[in-house]
Amino acid sequence: MRAEDVGLTAAEYNRIVELMGREPNDVELGLFGALWSEHCSYKNSKGLLKRLPNRGPHVVQGPGANAGVVALDDNFELAFKVESHNHPSYVEPVQGAATGVGGILRDIIAMGARPMAVADLLRFGRDGHSIKLLQGVVAGVGQYGNAIGIPTVTGDVAFAQGYAKNPLVNVLALGIRRREDRIGASTAQPGQLLVLLGQRTGRDGIHGASLLASRDFEDGREDLRPTVQVGDPFLGKLLMEVTLAAVHAGLAGALQDLGAAGLTSAVAELCYSSEVGAELHLDRVPLREPGLSAYDIMLSETQERMLLAVDERRLQELIQLAEPFELLCSVIGRVVEGSALTLRQEEQVVAEVDARWLVGEAPQRPVDDVLWNELSAPVEEARVPAAVPNLSVSLLLNVLGDADVRDRKPIYRQYDSMIQTNTVRGPEGEAAVLRVKGSPAGIALAVAGPARWAAADAYAGGQGAVLAALARLAAVGAEPLGMTDGVNAGNPDKSDSYRAMASLIRGVADAAEAARVPVTGGNVSLHNETDGRAIWPTVMIGAVGRLLDPTHPLAETWQQVGQYLYLINPSPLDWGGSAAQIMLDGEPGAMLRPDLAGAVRALSAVAQWARADGAVALRAIGVGGLGATLVRMMAAGRPELGLDMQLAESRGQDKALRLFNESPAQWVAVVSPDDRHSLESHFLERRVPVLTLGQVTEGGQLQIDERYRWARTDLLRAWRRSYEEESS
């Protein structure tokens, strides 16, 4: 076997020989190929990710573990992370997406946390085949999440032809644990047994990490289908119950799930973070079929497996726990002193490597201050968008009908969003709100991934994604505890793609720093490139916040005639990168870079106001700008109510810009006539500008400037187009 067969370069191979002091055998080479792959080692992104702010008063576990953890209160902690399953979902959409859900859930479980929410962040092309992929992916997400019993409470979907051959399937999971159930991979002790729990190992997913997820696509790669794993949510459920029960009973000395690069990654990560070695007997790994080689066993990505380090005297308890679930529980080796990883098959040593080489010595692209500082440099605008049209009745209807803007209900109604009975606000809202049984505090979860903004200016897009997610948390009055970032980009060996990814991360870093919200972990998926065409650099941000009382979150729409609407923190009149601009121009223009200081002021003023008396409703401006946000409010409100608006802008073009710009950190606020003054003074005292928009009226009609009128039913019909219908 040669280095390139496992995805390694000649230089990397030479480094391996240097480390080992000899040539690796095939099994050893396979271990290096998997762990030094882009997917496992983050070799092109780690230097950038290190610069993200990751500390804060609530952080219990920062980056580097299976998931980040923040403290919710004195008793409970929240583990959460986003992960990608992009390449597999193109090759096999249903299974690719299903195992994406299963994989991130196991990361959460590996922190000793019980998963309590899932969010899906999806990107597809705009052709017919992409709609088929969408249907398959949604079926896959639902298939796994619904069956294992974790609610999918929020999500995000967008469409651009650049994703046609590289759809993005990022899944975020959030779990909860009691403080006393803290566990991770870094606490294994020499002498403990290594126990493999769950599915028998088969041939599925071999080379998933090294070859499928770490290389570009070329057309017609059906031959990659065997590299996609198959998910079994039923077994995932049993594995979850047994693992969490084992953690709770104190049976697990350390815990590591088997994900990308299977047993190789699990053992190496566990050894590396616990500073121990391990001896594995591969003939004790239960197999689905006889005849798997050591290489296959180590690299198989068979799902639904968990590795535990267990004290020998407590093994029987674990076996008894697993028995009623009929779950396989096999001792496959032992933790030893040192750092050597020794693999045996029928008492023959088949591989012997140092775990530190596999994990700690993986190549890393350096990022110096010079490069980092350049990343925020202004971009030269490639092209000036076409002229902005005047506002018209049809313009709003067209924007509403754009695939990015439409009602996501055809997707989320296929997901169980209510199981576990904590969902106070589900996918119909801008942010999900969950109660916590046993705590007065609640959880808010918001996601955003506006890649349109990053297409022409990745740095601005990175900032915008952070602000958009935090704006949704602020609207429910949540205090942000932490964020997770899912970075998706093209081939890092190409300077343009690398630069785009790096600028995107720099944007995330600067916005997170300004907002003082740590990034506690995340995921990077590169090589989202087919036939030399890369996707837009896309970052999916998931933000987790704490609510003092989750049972009465501030409403997202008006309730009564006469209530006043305000636009909080109105942005300058520019719609570069908005859904409306792209719909009209065909190509994304550059987004106006957010005013970070102003946005951060607004975030805190809005969160305070959301908790104040007199606040009737609040909604973050979402995809499609103010215009679409008002329609979403209308859809959520009583059908007999309408809106009479007066825009401050006098030119027809400016009206269109006001209605369709999507700048983050803008909100619509609703108050009773009596509370107008207190709203205005609240924001003005905090140097956040506000604009009066208008008033709630009788009659299901939206009227702007006594000139443009839409019936509520027409607006909702445009907004509720199915994804099978083309955009007009």
């Binding site: 619904n146 069956a147 019993g149 949510p233 039923f234 077994l235 296929q414 199981i419 009975t421 049972t551």
Partner: protein
């Protein structure tokens, strides 16, 4: 005195904890039971909760219907009219086990569906005191195989025998094909036979106004009351 209610967990059940929690909110004594349970003497009523028992492999409920607890359940229903409530997957298991008439087929549109729906009480039952005919309840559904089916010619008997229990209706309480989320015959959302009743919607998810509705509290509360009354009679 209050009744003691058992909630059965099959491998893959995922609404068992939600159901136990909901019953505990009603102040009833609960006991978590395992699919291998063969002795039901210590409980006054049993809930088969929702979920994906055995992964819904083969057919929803088909494998769970073969579990030891179902044999015990069947005997207890026959000998002492043990009250049994099936929710979602529990409904599927009860039809597969022959304790309830009919079958649950894949939703007509072929998709899993999670949404709020209103159901109307068609028939009163002594196991649900206070749930009057015509009473409307707003409850969530979450299923892929909830299209209730009985062969041609059996539907009339279902209504005549008082076995048609709950129907999906629109917001105004009217029976309408538009209110049918899955293609169920006659919009049926729940059926009953003797001491056994089951429904596809999830009352255990509708225990608080802030979760969208507390109508589930009424339905489960009525059943708990019915079970308690039966338990007193039996003693």
């Amino acid at each position: 005195m209050s009744a003691r209610i058992g909630v059965v967990t099959f491998p893959g059940s995922n609404c068992d904890h939600d159901t136990l929690w909901a019953l505990e909110q009603l102040g009833v004594e609960t006991t978590a039971m395992w699919y291998r349970a063969e002795d039901l003497d210590h409980v006054d009523g049993v809930v088969l909760p929702g979920g994906f028992s055995y992964g819904d492999y083969l057919r929803s409920g088909a494998l769970a219907a073969q579990a030891p607890v179902l044999t015990a359940l069947q005997a207890a229903v026959e000998t002492r009219s043990l009250p049994v409530l099936g929710i979602c997957n529990g409904f599927q298991i009860l039809t597969e086990a022959g304790l309830l008439p009919g079958a649950l087929r894949p939703n007509r549109h072929g998709e899993f569906r999670c949404d709020w729906h209103t159901v109307r009480v068609v028939e009163e039952s002594r196991w649900f005191p206070g749930l009057a005919v015509g009473k409307a309840l707003r409850l969530p559904i979450a299923h892929a195989e909830g299209s209730y089916y009985v062969p041609n010619g059996q539907l009339g008997a279902l209504f005549q025998n008082g076995e048609a229990w709950l129907q999906y209706v629109d917001d105004a309480g009217r029976l309408s094909p538009m209110a049918n989320p899955n293609g169920s015959v006659a919009n049926l959302a729940g059926v009953q036979r003797g001491s056994v009743a089951a429904l596809m919607p999830h009352p255990e998810r509708a225990m608080e106004v802030f979760l969208g509705s507390d109508d589930g509290r009424q339905l489960l509360g009525a059943w708990v009351q019915g079970v308690s009354q039966e338990a007193i009679h039996a003693r």
